[in-house]
Amino acid sequence: MAEEIKTTCLHDNHVALGALMTPFAGFDMPIQYKGIVEEHNAVRTNVGVFDVSHMGEVAVTGPEAEKFVNYIFTNDIKGAEPGKVFYGMMLYPDGGTVDDLLVYKMGENDFFLVINAANIDKDVAWINEQAVNFDVKVENQSDYYAQLAVQGPEGENTIKNVLDLDGSDLTFYTVKKVEYDGETIILSRTGYTGEDGFEIYASHKAIVKMWNLLMDAGVQPCGLGCRDTLRFEVGLPLYGDELTAEISPIMATLGMFVKLDKEGGFIGRDACAQQKAEGSAKKLVGLELHDKAIPRHGYEVLQGDTVVGYVTTGYRGISVEKSLAFALVDRAAGTLGNELSVRIRKKVFPATVVKKRFYTTSYKK
């Protein structure tokens, strides 16, 4: 039975702006308004706003909230100052990824988890399953919160001038609660674009109001199309492509977010420790093609005549004018500088293994 497609509180606004709408993660979402290239460049050079209200939010509170979140999360949040934001994953015991997420420390034993839209039901079920032996309260707040991402070097000025929100005291990966239009909202200096920027979590009413103010001020609306090209160029993974139930963060070379030695351990720790010690069979790498042909998700990667992996994401870069890919390949084939090739339709194109960060970021430290 087909599930009914969901919409965000800004759906009518997107349609009125003439956005190209496409189903994504169960939501009818804008892929582009003006064009992916223009929107991508707006974020790199100026500012753009994304409706990311499809993302899920889960509050975890209670006496054992810190202990519990640290147990289901790969990064180490123990003893962190309130206002800190952490990136990491929830894992299955075999090291496969349930989801990648942000954990916001709002207060002592008060955490706000931001999860992928496609995984909301799965994640909430998983979190609740693990929570049975902990004194915590898990609350899925995804229906309450809408979310905007204001991204780009002009992000701080834009939220100040247009929305009267002061983000100047936030450093990258920190969060605070602020009052807006009679309600308490969440403002963090985070994003998924490789640029400086902010994410705002608030009621539908407040988000619609902010969106309209941003549109009136001429801020470029940006669709999920450029969200993907932006994150790709700076080496950020997308759940479903670079992280899956079969792809651990060790395989995805995201080991820096996996704190194997943290107190109390975490679900999936032993599997990750083993993969790290022995070397995982597969490894995520960057590929740079020497030709203009574009590698796409699922295309075969070869070493000589042997298939050694597949492309997880590929684009003709926008800020970097090269044909680039992330690919999951046999570990031995994934050495930096190694010469591989990608099968694109009938032809095979040479590609060099390179670092996954194709474009350099500029965050406010």
């Binding site: 190209l20 892929i31 582009q32 064009g35 992916i36 290239v37 199309g225 993907d228 090209t229 203009k292 042909a293 574009i294 796409r296 684009y315 003709r316 926008i318 044909s323 694109i344 339709r345």
Partner: protein
């Protein structure tokens, strides 16, 4: 509203053929370029390659996805539009001006299986 030019032949997969004597210029329609968005790469065959009606001869790629190019007619490629190698976005500027391949037609009778401007207009609902 998309541009449609009278006198061209149109396929259901949004390619056009502009016939000039024994030759046909094949490209994608204005409607197709609009649906694709920014074209960033055109995968073209080589001169002397054979193309067959209804079969794939290359691809046109937007930022987001690759779309196969299906030849509306059969014949031999006599020229490819090399300008598209350096500037694939020309297709977005003018899809009818910026044809993709020029083919020596092997069976002009195949043109009868294609749509005229009016029928194509009706198909895309404009």
């Amino acid at each position: 509203m998309s541009k449609i030019i009278d006198g061209l032949y149109y396929s259901e997969s949004h390619e056009y053929v502009r016939v000039d004597g024994e030759f046909g210029y094949i490209g994608i329609t204005d409607y197709a370029q609009h649906e694709l968005g920014n074209v960033v790469y055109v995968d073209m065959p080589e001169v002397d390659d054979e193309v067959a009606a209804g079969e794939e001869f290359g691809a046109v790629e937007s930022v987001k996805a690759a779309s196969d190019l299906m030849s509306p007619v059969s014949g031999t490629v006599v020229e490819v539009n090399e300008a598209l190698e350096d500037e694939p976005g020309l297709i977005n500027k003018d899809a009818f001006e910026n044809w993709i391949i020029k083919v020596e037609l092997s069976d002009k009778g195949e043109l009868d299986d294609l749509m005229d401007a009016e029928a194509y207009k009706a198909m895309i609902g404009e």
